[in-house]
Amino acid sequence: MTKEFAPDLSVKLGRLHLKNPVSVCSGTFGYGEEFSDFYNPSELGALVTKSVTLEERAGNPPPRIVETPSGILNSIGIQNVGVKRFLEEKVPFLQTLKTVRIVSVAGSTQEEYVEVVKMLEGTKGIDAVEINISCPNVKEGGMSFGVSAGSAAALTAAVRRATAMPLIVKLSPNVTDIVEIARAVVDAGAEILSLVNTFRAIAIDIKTRKPALGAVTGGLSGPAIKPLALFHIFQIALKMDVPVIGMGGIMTGDDALEFVFAGAHAVAVGTANFIDPFTPLRIIEHLKEYCRLNNVLKFTSLIGEAKKQIG
């Protein structure tokens, strides 16, 4: 085999075909257009938009971001333009892209999710929806949909009935048993899982002695959470057979490989986009190079190696 062979990086996630296994995390890539100054998002295997809600949302009061050791804590509060403006202003750009375009959907009630998904249904330029179940559930008193198997499954089933599009459910890691939730949403119709969302966290400002974020509680992302994210993905890989998009602290190609060996079928870059917007492209190159150096013809043969090895 010559050194210059082109490894096949493509991967199938349920009904979605990605030309390479590198996507970007919701909330870290805007609506796609913001990155076109840096590179053409069509180079990505997939992209996920900022979560979209029924009504426009202003977001939380500042400060919205604090740095912690190897991590960042955010409380953006799903600031977004709302589904109507999204369809009018943001989808036209998505339609120009040659990649898998995933729209993240959020809401405070089951009805809100369903309504947003119905409005997206049948729109050119949208290939799949990702349900962000980490939003506070207003009806259940502020806990998020994603922390109870019952509410996560009910929400998934309702959205499933509302759309024929490929359905991704994005799991919250703030649970005792991720596999319980994962099974519930897959049984309810999720075709692909994506995880992890951020970890609940706070920081205190020593000077004011108050919580450092305007919204008090935030979500931790970045390299600090990588070993925690890997744990959750590995649990699912050990016990279930479902395509998983892995994320949480991926900064380098080696980080991405860790997720793949742990069982992720594809990976998504989040916080790293803020620091080096070219991270996803560097990772695609790294994976290609890794496959070449290790004579891996098909990227997919690397998925879940860590599981195979412990039997």
Binding site: N60, I65, E67, Q79
Partner: protein, 256 residues
């Protein structure tokens, strides 16, 4: 990259980057990466203090971990910079006079502004904590003067028995002069708030350059929210791409 320590933890950086130097306008900023290793993770924003051919001038004050790491870099080392970012100050009208108010390293965008807009003229009011700071900028101040800008300084530390805030200078100046087209201000938020108030009292348009914690600097993380005056539900605009320069009457100062 070349750097030079001015003293008291204040550094002047010269960075070769044609791409940025060509497109930069006064009031815009760049995002500098403090550490490859990832602690701290995020880039740090700095106003562009000037361009010189393909070089970029920055003034960086050491205040925490990120700025310390940047200021510890050696001459010749590569600095990872993204920019130019944000909306700067509008181009001044040739026949109008402007009042520029700066506190501390807030002088940075005005060094660029006065160098770029030699045709315009007006007054620069500069407030510093210590008399040292005034010395550091002596060279820049004389450049400004020769570009047709008049510079007045004040310090919190007593010099010849006098001391005070830049907003005191502003009050005094506006008391005796009224020919200004607008006030442009850059500095700590407390100073900006007061400048905005004073400009309003004198019915002058006022633009302020707002600082905010920034996750990305290019409009995707939504962390640099600046509260905007509205009735009803709060509205935020983004310091990194809607700003950092805002009209002062737009800003909801109470929520800051």
């Amino acid at each position: 990259m070349r750097k030079c320590e001015m003293g008291d933890g204040l550094f002047e950086f010269e960075i070769e980057c044609l791409q940025i130097a060509e497109h930069a306008t006064p009031g815009q900023f760049v995002q500098v990466r403090p550490a490859e290793s990832g602690n701290p993770l995020l880039r740090r924003p700095f106003s562009i203090a000037g361009v010189d051919g393909k070089n970029l001038l920055l003034l960086i004050k050491q205040v925490g971990q990120g700025t310390s790491l940047i200021c510890r870099k050696e001459c010749g080392e590569h600095l990872d910079v993204i920019g130019p970012l944000g909306q700067g100050f509008p181009v001044p009208c040739e026949d109008k006079k402007y009042l520029l108010v700066a506190g501390g390293y807030g002088i940075a965008p005005f060094i660029f502004f006065t160098a770029r807009h030699r045709h315009a003229q007006g007054e620069i009011l500069y407030g510093a904590k210590t008399k040292n700071e005034i010395k550091f900028f002596a060279g820049h101040f004389s450049d400004m003067t020769s570009s047709g800008w008049n510079v007045s300084c004040i310090t919190e530390e007593k010099i010849d028995g006098k001391s005070g805030l830049v907003t005191d200078l502003l009050e005094k100046d506006l008391c005796i002069r009224s020919e200004y087209e607008a006030v442009y201000a850059c500095g700590p938020v407390g100073m900006l708030r007061k400048v905005a108030q004073i400009a309003k009292n004198y019915n002058l348009p006022c633009l302020v350059s707002m600082e905010s914690r920034m996750g990305c600097g290019f409009g995707v993380c939504l962390s640099c929210a600046v509260p905007i005056k509205t009735v009803g539900t709060p509205v935020y605009r983004l310091a990194c791409c809607d700003g950092p320069v805002f009209r002062s009457e737009e800003i909801n100062w109470e929520k800051l």
